[in-house]
């Protein structure tokens, strides 16, 4: 399971980086979304996945006798999903407005160096 997740994270990072390097703004946004999912998987993976263990430690135990499920990574991922969801929504609107104003999808065309401004 872990090796699968690790490969998956790698693929998401690689494809995200590739998409960010493209010139189209829409592909840029897709790249950022892929990268964001990769990060979430990475945190999930680094939180040491366990199966069928409770996230609670019995109060009688003086030390961690058994492996237990760590709930913190999931809380972190939940927060970061919410945040990146908001940002992605903003990004899509921004791209739409930019397209309406500039009539282009090419990052290299975003150089109306308005010296007057």
């Amino acid at each position: 399971m872990e090796i699968l997740l690790a490969i998956m994270t790698g693929i998401l990072y690689a494809s995200g980086t590739y998409m960010i390097l493209r010139r189209s703004i829409v592909k840029l946004i897709i790249g950022i979304i892929l990268l964001g999912n990769g990060v979430n998987l990475l945190i999930f993976l680094l939180g040491r996945i366990t199966k069928g263990e409770p996230p609670i430690i019995s109060p009688e135990l003086k030390h961690f006798a058994d492996i237990y499920a760590d709930p913190i990574p999931q809380a972190l991922i939940l927060t970061s999903i919410v945040i990146s969801f908001g940002l992605q929504a903003f990004a899509i609107i921004l791209v739409k407005r930019t397209y309406k104003a500039l009539h282009t999808d090419d990052l290299d065309m975003l150089n109306t160096l308005d010296e007057d401004s």
Binding site: D70, G86, T112, E115
Partner: protein
């Protein structure tokens, strides 16, 4: 009453940002409320500063969860100083923005978002939990995305795309670093991480997470080679917005770097050398970028990069003297850089453009204002005894004693080119005869036709910040004492750890 005092700045800004939402269409009410809010925030920040100065580091455990498990807010001297500076520049920029930002922008909740931005900044300076730091960074960048794109002009949208992409990418790298460090130490509390990171055998893994953190904060603070988004976007929004961005947004990245390097990765030879190399390249790229630009606001944007290099390098030298120099420079830089963009805004209002080729004769038409501006420009260069001069002594001394000659040379080069650039601005914009150019008609009333009260609202924030710059210059003794105290405090992470974990 005073035990939670360090969270009050957050409460004030949160309260005002929510209240301002209820007056969405009533711009006059919003203007009054935001000024009142910023004055209260300044008062609270002063109270927090005095409280921490006399009682030492304050720790608040959110929800009463004990330190390594819950989120902590830690107010040490570094945080308190930065809170105070945030409040000062926040107030100055809010006074400036009520006259300079056009109503079409104010109608879309400008001030509410502005308070959210200040809330995020205060939170980032106060938190002692690394994931919480990420969340505050997100609050900062979300608010800054709104502020940079509000109004929706063509070049503003272009700048917003570049700004958005790089900052979001930086946040993702920050999150990656955070995941790695959580995997290594199993903790998110900075003090706890600092304790546990000593127990890790594999230096490679520590270096990986350190470099990831460094990349993330370098993007935020525009360190070479991740600096190109800054000059591409900072000149596009209204001057009030670029002022608060240049004063505080890049500096919050520097703050995070200082915290990480002093607390979690101290005395890491590899990182120190990396920081020195990056700082030299940052100074060179920033200063040479500034010298070829003709737009005043773009020149200022490149100077931000150049001076970020000064601070990063001082962090790389890493001794008490160098850190105190960095902190002094940080204090000086926040005030001066905020003021520079306000000045850029005033010049834009007077002439309708900030292109140096198209303006001139400012000294002849506004002699008193020009004299005020020259104080700021000289502080920026560091003409003794003004404020930029004193931190450079510490930086020069410490880099020379440590035999970091590359950084030493870059400091000299950076300071010299800043002088050249300022001389160029002065001779082009202030002394040269006004050249014959037709300037496009603007949507706003030009400076000469404003009411006297409005003119004063333009000048007052610049004057306040200039007076503070003068105080930093002439009262350098106080600031030096303060920065030495902070430097001695943070160079030994044990003080911070003990305050948070209460052994």
């Amino acid at each position: 009453m005073t035990e939670n005092i360090i969270t009050y700045p957050l409460v004030v800004h949160l309260f005002f940002s929510i209240v301002l939402m209820f007056f969405w269409q009533k711009i006059k009410v919003q203007k009054i409320l935001t000024i009142v809010g910023n004055f209260i925030a300044l008062g609270v920040a002063i109270a927090v500063f005095i409280h921490i100065w006399s009682n030492g580091t304050q720790v608040v455990n959110a929800g009463n969860w004990d330190a390594p498990f819950g989120i902590v807010f830690v107010g040490d001297m570094l945080s308190a100083t930065l809170l105070l500076l945030t409040a000062v520049s926040g107030l100055a920029v809010s006074i400036f923005s009520i006259v300079s930002v056009i109503n079409a922008r104010l109608r879309f909740g400008f001030f509410s978002v502005y308070h959210f931005l200040l809330l995020g900044l205060n939170g980032a300076f106060l938190t002692g939990d690394i994931f919480n730091l990420y969340v505050w960074f997100e609050i900062i960048i979300i608010s800054s995305f709104v502020l940079i794109s509000i109004g929706g002009e063509k070049n503003q949208l272009e700048g917003a795309i570049k700004y958005f992409t790089l900052n979001f990418f930086g946040s993702l790298i920050f999150l990656t670093a955070l995941g790695v460090i959580y995997g290594l130490t199993g903790s998110l509390n900075m003090a706890d991480i600092a304790n546990k990171i000593k127990l890790i055998d594999s230096q490679v893994l520590i270096d990986i997470s350190a470099v990831l953190f460094l990349t993330a904060f370098s993007i935020k603070s525009a360190v070479f080679p991740l600096n190109f988004w800054l000059p591409a976007s900072y000149h596009t929004p209204p001057s009030a917005v670029s002022a608060i961005f240049s004063g505080l947004l890049t500096k919050v990245g520097v703050y995070a770097l200082i915290r990480m390097m002093t607390l979690i990765f101290p005395q890491d030879e590899f990182l120190m050398n990396l920081l020195i190399v990056l700082s030299v390249l940052t100074i060179i790229s920033g200063s040479f970028g500034a010298i070829i630009q003709n737009n005043i606001r773009k020149v200022f944007s490149y100077l931000i990069i150049c001076h970020i290099g000064f601070m990063i390098g001082g962090l790389g030298v890493f001794n008490v003297l160098a850190i105190s120099g960095v902190l002094f420079y940080l204090i000086h830089d926040i005030i001066v850089k905020t003021n520079l963009f306000l000045i850029g805004g005033v010049i834009y209002r007077i002439k309708g453009t900030t292109n140096m080729k198209k303006i001139g004769d400012l000294y002849h038409s506004f002699p008193k204002l020009s004299l005020l501006i020259i104080i700021v420009l000289f502080s920026l260069v560091g003409v003794p005894p003004l404020s930029g001069f004193w931190p450079k002594i510490s930086l020069f001394l410490s880099s020379y004693n440590n035999e970091n000659y590359w950084y030493f040379g870059a400091l000299i080069l950076g300071s010299f080119i800043t002088l050249v650039v300022v001389a160029k601005i002065w001779s082009e914009a202030f002394w040269k005869k006004q050249p014959e150019f037709s300037i496009r008609k603007k949507k706003f009333i030009s400076f000469g036709q404003l009411y006297t009260l409005q003119k004063w609202q333009f000048i007052t924030p610049i004057a306040i910040l200039a007076i503070i710059s003068l105080y930093i210059g002439f009262g350098a003794d106080h600031i030096q004492t303060l920065s030495l105290k902070i430097a001695e405090d943070i160079i030994d992470p044990q003080n911070y750890i003990d305050a948070v974990l209460k052994p």
